[in-house]
Amino acid sequence: MLCERCKKNEATVFYKETINGKTKSYSLCAECAAEAEKAGDIETPHMDAFFSSPSIGGIDSLFGSLFSVPHYAKRALSEGNAETKKCSLCGSAFGDLVKRGKVGCPKCYEVFADELDATIREIHGTTTHTGSAPKRFKHDRELKQKIKNLEAELKEAIKDENYERAAEIRDEVKALKEKEEN
């Protein structure tokens, strides 16, 4: 697809915005997107779009120092509609988590996974656990690891044109995946 502005370069930035119910979409090349952003026509999300200092008008003082609030959640909070999504176990909205500086219950980590991602990354520099697990998860983890190892082996076998071994591994992976689903 060609950029809809210059109609010369390949479009690499696809932008969609909904304001007051009206949706506009653009397909632009990188150059035109940069120009459009400079002119204020569009606002493209950046990696650093996550605000590190949590300050939302009016409720600043209540914010735990811990929580950085992603810009979309920030907008939702300032428009007062942060109350819409609530955790089914403890009834917290994301705004409650921010106010408290702490998460409401184990379920909140599922419900607000996207909203919490930036904060967790900021604290720990990662969002992936590598330590020990309860027994009921250990089995799953081992199974996953086994599948991962076999898939790597499969790639090697194909690369070496060892199709007999590849077929064997494929069957093994299939069996393990079925086991995983069960």
């Binding site: 811990l66 702490k102 998460v103 720990h124 520099g125 656990h129 020990s132 697990a133």
Partner: protein, 338 residues
């Protein structure tokens, strides 16, 4: 037995080692959102898990007098938050294993193991043993990506905080704590004074612990903290030798004066005790004093704190009586009568 009642490895610098694991049950809100009925349910469930396991005993902390709860904080058995909470709560402890399980705290279950000296691996293994007992019986909140789920996101992943309490008089005197603090911050560790900023009046006790709990395994946390602790211990020891040899006997004089006050004073307040503790402990570590062992001094420091002293001497009413009782306790411990 408690950490201050035995002598551990490298205890000239490392006073105690602690590992804490935070755990939660899947179906309840976290600590601050927990109502009394749910808190009681959790207590009951955790209590049942440890019934008949080893020498674990159960204490209902809601029934305990304030002074006894404060004394437990001074012994590092429970957190200050747990001691002052208004909610139903209990401590399940094994004296033999030196494992203390608070339920509920900020998290539903907080397992801690505290041992004398530099003993992080052993503390981890003991805390883990209790964790495995819980794991076999209760549904612990965990997700494959974030690990153990906790009230505060700073504890996610392993839910583990490992720490060593270090006695660092030479680093304090030489002004090295600030630089150390900056260095530790860069590698995900933190140091804090046990009672405010590092003047010699606070006993020169510091806690070094891991700050990051996610994306690092339990063993890695222990090994990282151990390596750093070893290098802090070495640095502190070198500085002590320098101080000892550098100031023409003035240092020895200070240690002996403090020892004299400990032996003969009749009234000692907490601040003075901590100051004397630091001087005499350093003197004992350097072989200047041989009448007081390091573990005797640690025992004196804990049992001489306000709440512990009052618990042991129920008749104490005034601060003066407490200072007199403290001086007496110190004398008794130093004379080997305790």
């Amino acid at each position: 037995m408690m950490w201050y009642e035995s002598a551990g490895r490298d205890n000239d610098v490392a006073v105690s080692s602690r590992v804490r694991l935070a755990r939660n049950l899947t179906d309840y809100p976290f600590g601050s959102l927990l109502n009394d009925a749910s808190a009681k349910e959790i207590i009951e469930r955790v209590k049942n898990v440890f019934e008949g396991v080893g020498d674990y005993t159960f204490t209902d902390y809601s029934d305990l007098e304030e002074i006894e709860r404060k004394a437990a904080v001074e012994k590092h058995k429970v957190s200050a938050e747990f001691a002052s909470s208004k909610k139903p709560r209990a401590l399940i402890e094994s004296e033999r294993k030196q494992v203390y399980i608070m339920t509920p705290e900020e998290d539903h279950i907080r397992i801690q193991s505290i041992l004398a000296g530099f003993s992080l691996e052993e503390a981890l293994s003991r805390a883990r043993e209790a964790d495995e007992t819980i794991d076999g019986a209760l549904n612990v909140a965990y997700n494959d990506k974030l690990g153990y789920l906790t009230h505060c996101p700073t504890n996610l992943g392993t839910g583990m905080r490992a720490s060593v309490m270090l006695f660092l008089p030479a680093l304090t005197i030489s002004g090295g704590i600030r630089a150390l603090s900056a260095q530790l911050g860069k590698i995900g560790l933190t140091i804090r004074g046990m009672s405010g900023e590092g003047s010699s009046a606070d006993g020169c006790l510091y806690q070094v612990s891991n700050q990051i709990t996610l994306g690092i395994s339990e063993e890695e946390i222990v090994s990282k903290l151990s390596k750093i602790t070893e290098s802090i211990i070495e640095k502190e020891r070198n500085l002590r030798q320098k101080i000892k040899s550098a100031d023409n006997g003035r240092f020895e004089d200070r240690v002996m004066r403090s020892y004299g006050v400990m032996m003969y004073a009749t009234m000692i307040d907490t601040n003075e005790m901590m100051r004397l503790y630091a001087d005499v402990r350093l003197g004992a570590a350097l072989g200047i004093i041989d009448g007081a062992s390091l573990s005797e001094l640690d025992k004196m420091m804990v049992r001489g704190m306000a709440a512990n002293l009052t618990c042991e001497n129920k008749e104490i009413k005034t601060p003066e009586e407490r200072d007199r009782a403290r001086a007496e306790l110190i004398r008794r411990i130093l004379s080997g009568a305790e």
